[in-house]
């Protein structure tokens, strides 16, 4: 091990990187954990004594209903993304290599486009006198406009639209690595298509499925601007509650506790993802 002074460059780099992460990642997160067990205070935001009131408040029926509704919408969003994304990623992995590059590019173009603007574009389509209603009426399928905007469905459509690429990309990467030899082995051993799908393809793509769920489920509870634009006041997400508690109600302990619940959910999903990858490693090779 060389002396520190002989490596001023190395020292400088490490100090800078560690400093940034400790000050802007670790410290703020510890602060949130701390805030969640403190008492709300008008002047300084938080004060002693320590209490678990904020966590108790999470189970207040009023908020519990909002959280469960948010979880429900996030679950529907994730399911829809998975149902669209799984066959999509599979189909994508079967297209010629040259074309795949172009198709992936087309998939991430919307992802690079301002998400607020894309959510707003959905409003043009879903509004009562919007494009979809006009189209359905001119086709004669409906007689008068259907209320689509400011419904639960509109929020789910908005979330699916924004989050679909995050489901497809991890799925695509597992389908890319799908081992043809195992599929052939399964076929040679007499398994039918359905049996191969259940016993070979599903377990091998499970890490991708879980990664996709992780990337969709949690943001689907946090993207507060989607209900703000499409959902009206009845279809709030956990993100809306956190935002209101921090910016309007100034109740930091409660907002922090809600945020910690989201973080715990993330930790749980990451753990499940890890576990599934390890299982594939043992069984697959």
């Amino acid at each position: 091990m060389r002396n520190l002074m002989q490596q001023p460059f190395r020292t400088a780099v490490l100090v800078l990187v560690w400093g940034w992460l400790l000050f802007l990642v670790l410290a703020p997160n510890l602060l949130v954990v701390g805030a969640s067990v403190m008492t709300r205070s008008p002047g300084t935001f938080i004060s002693l004594p320590l209490t678990l009131d904020a966590y108790r408040q999470l189970f207040d029926p009023l908020y519990l209903e909002v959280f469960l509704h948010s979880l429900y919408m996030a679950a529907v969003t994730t399911t829809v993304c998975l149902l669209i994304g799984y066959p999509f990623a599979w189909s994508l992995s079967k297209v010629g290599k040259q074309r795949q590059v172009l198709l992936i590019f087309l998939l991430i173009v919307p992802f690079w486009t301002n998400s607020l603007v894309r959510t707003y574009a959905l409003k043009l389509i879903l509004a009562t006198n919007g494009l979809l209603n006009s189209a359905l009426m001119s086709l004669g399928w409906i007689d008068e406009p259907v209320q689509m905007l400011y419904t639960e469905g509109a929020v789910v459509i908005g979330l699916v639209y924004l989050l679909l690429p995050f489901m497809i990309l991890p799925l695509y990467s597992v389908f890319e690595d799908l081992r043809e030899d195992l599929l052939r082995a399964s076929h040679d051993l007499g398994a039918g298509r359905f049996s191969t799908f259940i016993h070979v393809i599903v377990p091998m793509t499970l890490p991708g499925v879980l990664a996709g769920i992780m990337l969709v489920l949690l943001p689907a509870m946090g993207l507060f601007f989607v209900p703000d634009i499409l959902g009206g006041s009845r279809n709030l997400l956990v993100g809306n509650v956190i935002k209101n508690q921090f910016l309007d109600a100034r109740n930091w302990p409660f907002g922090a506790a809600a945020s910690i619940m989201l973080t715990l959910a993330m930790a749980f999903l990451m753990f499940a993802h890890r576990l599934s990858k390890r299982r594939i490693g043992e069984d697959g090779v």
Partner: protein, 256 residues
């Protein structure tokens, strides 16, 4: 397996992904006031956009913020990637883990933690708080881009440089930097776009002194329809597209 089924399916999903964007672009040239019916071609919403001084100021603010956030995060991100790649040090796993957590955690979790920090240390919310927050969420993406580039690179080159008497600093400047240049550019462009598009984190850490574009759009689209937003969205779309093509082109060219 037959080919038409997967292809039709792909085409259908792409159609659904692009219809809203197409609607937005078409309606940005719509002369109608109500925003739902077609009233002929017009550039009036683009004119309205540039006549709006608060909007133009927000555009410049956003652009400046994105430029600075992308530059700072590329610098720190590149150094972090080099440190992770080159050095053995205590807590390397923890460093890696923290970057991973920043990338995976919902934006709103990062947003409130930074707000809490800034308010408790008494920092005024504005350009500086936005810059610190944006650099923080861009950082892991730059690190990953640069790490990917470094992992496919001949380890003997830096060793040779060291053996020939180059210091760490000189070796980094003359050997490593040229190798990771394409990744730096790609990471910079990614950071620029992430910063320009961010709504969630900015909502929390911006103050009245420094209004940025996404927040201005946010306050506009919450109620009713604002045809200027169509025009603005179209401009942002073209801008992102140029940036994306540029970054892909840089990465593809460097692979040859």
């Amino acid at each position: 397996m037959s080919h038409w089924l997967p292809r039709t399916y792909l085409a259908l999903v792409y159609l659904l992904l692009y219809v809203p964007i197409a609607v937005l672009v078409v309606f940005s040239f719509n002369d109608s006031r109500t925003g739902y019916e077609w009233g002929g071609l017009s550039l009036r919403w683009y004119e309205a956009l540039f006549d709006n001084r608060a909007m133009v100021r927000a555009m410049w603010n956003s652009l400046w913020l994105a430029l600075s956030a992308a530059t700072v995060s590329t610098l720190i991100g590149a150094l972090t990637a080099l440190a992770l790649h080159r050095y053995r040090f205590r807590g390397k796993q923890i460093l890696n883990g923290m970057l991973f957590v920043v990338m995976m955690s919902p934006e709103i979790v990062l947003a409130i933690s930074l707000l809490a920090l800034f308010l408790l240390v008494g920092m005024q919310l504005g350009y500086v708080s936005l810059l610190l927050a944006h650099v923080t969420f861009c950082l892991p993406f730059v690190v990953i881009t640069v790490m990917a580039r470094l992992s496919g690179f001949d380890e003997r080159l830096p060793e040779a440089a060291r053996d020939l008497g180059a210091s760490d600093f000189v070796m980094t400047r003359t050997v490593l930097i040229p190798v990771i240049m394409p990744a730096l550019l790609a990471g910079w462009l990614l950071g620029f776009t992430l910063s320009l598009d961010d709504v969630v984190v900015s909502t929390f850490v911006s103050g009245p002194t420094y209004e940025i574009l996404p927040l201005r759009i946010y306050s506009m689209v919450r109620v009713g329809l604002k045809p200027e937003v169509n025009a603005l969205g179209t401009l942002l779309l073209v801008f992102s597209l140029v940036m994306l093509i540029l970054s892909q082109w840089i990465l593809l060219r460097s692979r040859r």
